[in-house]
Each structure stands twice: as C-alpha cells, then as structure tokens.
Symmetry: C2
Subunit: 154 residues, 2 copies
C-alpha cells in the first residue's frame, strides 16, 4: 500500500473515530461538523478557523464560521482536537492523534509558516519534568520560533 493511501486511510479513520466519539457523547450528525471532521482528518498540521472556513468554501461543503468554532470547541472538549498557540494573531487547531504522530511546531516569524517536528529526547525531558512539577500535567505545547529557510534565502 502506498504512503499516500495509508495517509488517506488514517485520515478517514480519525474522522470516523471522531464521529463515533461525538455520537457516544450524545451528539447528532450534521453537515457542517462532518465537513470539518473530514478536512481536519486530512490535515497533518494545524489550521486556523478562518483557514478551515476558506478551505471548506473552496471544496467539500461550506460551513458557517459560527459552526466551525462550535465544532472545534466540541472536539476540543472531547480531546479529539487540540489548540496550537503559534503566537500569531489566531489560534490554530489540529487533530489529536496517537503517540507516534505527536509533534510540536516551528513557526517562521517572517512568513508565518508552521512546520511540525518531533523529538523523542524532548518528550522524555517533558515527561520527567511533568512528574516533578506542582501541577498535574495533562498536556504540553512547545513552539520554536525563528526564520525559515525560504525567508533566510530571500
């Protein structure tokens, strides 16, 4: 099976799993939500609410901005989606996935591009800290900022 197909499968998996979780939580189905789920499922990294709105208007089924925020909020509550604070004007959202896909973000301060990265040693350091800190840690977020290669070249 090709990598592309694998990814498509995994995306569908996530959207389906999310819809099942929503149903289990007592939610009904709806077009706007399904569209957001499918879009997020196919994304590797974080999108803003406005990017989601644009992409949905461009393809699939359009959804109103209010519905997008509502869906994202529900999904965040169920831990299916997480917010990413890139330090730009808007909050970004991405699907929560299994440990092996867990990642953090690089943000270019010039062009704003967001690039995912992951590092096992970093995760170990975080776990270790989490045990020694006066807080029951349930999640962590790491952002590295700087200038990306394209912007450095330009």
């Amino acid at each position: 099976m090709s990598q592309v197909t694998e990814r498509a499968d995994r995306s569908e998996q996530w959207a389906d799993r999310a819809e099942a979780a929503l149903a289990a939580a007592g939610h009904r189905r709806g077009g706007a939500r399904r569209a957001v789920l499918e879009l997020l499922g196919g994304q590797e990294c974080a999108l803003t609410a406005l990017e989601i709105e644009d992409q949905l208007r461009g393809g699939r089924r359009a959804a109103s901005r209010a519905s997008i925020y509502r869906v994202l909020d529900e999904l965040e509550g169920l831990r299916l989606v997480q917010r990413v604070e890139t330090g730009q004007a808007m909050v970004r959202y991405e699907r929560v996935c299994d440990a092996e896909e867990h990642h953090h973000h690089l943000v270019c301060q010039r062009c704003g591009i967001v690039i995912p990265f992951s590092d096992p040693a970093l995760e170990r350091a975080i776990s270790s800290i989490s045990e020694r800190v006066p807080l029951a840690v349930s999640e962590h977020e790491i952002v590295l900022r700087g200038q990306c290669r394209d912007c450095t070249a330009a």
Copy 2:
C-alpha cells in the same frame, strides 16, 4: 544583602537597562513607558496588558491601555519583553532576562494561574533540536497545562 534587596536591585537594573536601550533606539522618555518598565521590572512572571493597566491604576502612575500596548510592542521589538502564549484569552508579557532566569510556564486549566519553572535538561534538549531543524531558531516557548494543587484539592 537580603534576597529581597537583590531582587529589587535586579528589577531596577532591568528597567534602567531597558530605558537605555530605548534611548539608544532613538526613543524619548515618557511617563507611561516608565511606569510600565518599572512594573515589569518588578515582576517575576508574565502579566496581561489588562493586568498591567489595573496595577498601574492602583499604584504608580496610571497609563492608558493604548499606551500600554504600544510600549509592550516597542519592548518586544527590542527583545526586552517577550510574549507568553498561555492558551488563555489574552497574551501575557514578561521581561526578557539573562540565561539563569530563563524559564517556562505551567498553566492551570481550571483557575488560570501561571507558574514559572525551569529545567536545564529541557534547555539542552531544545538547543540540540534547534541545530537540527529547518529553521534558524531565535526563541522557544514551552507551556505545560494541567490542574494545580489548589484546584486538585478543592
């Protein structure tokens, strides 16, 4: 010299150094800016613009919200202040200090309290990553979220 006095000195140092940097960058003096500098200099951790406004109105010299945002923006540009994205509604700001005071943040998702922490192993992991990543890293930010002891007890 007592710890308290040391801290007071360090705060003044920061405010003075910041004012010098501002002057070097061609800025004139001003009351609102001085008030913000003195307040931030005396803080160990990050404040929101609105918290700054409240504290200034309570003591020292009051400053308008617009001026506070303008001052924070200037200071951020000069790398004297850094934004902290705690994932709450508002951005927080804190003074940038020397390496030994460099820290990150714990955020309670229930009560919103922000607690600083630091960890050398974590910094090493970050430095190591910074060299291997497709971005010229100039800063990093780490936030651990969870529930603080008070909220767990309550």
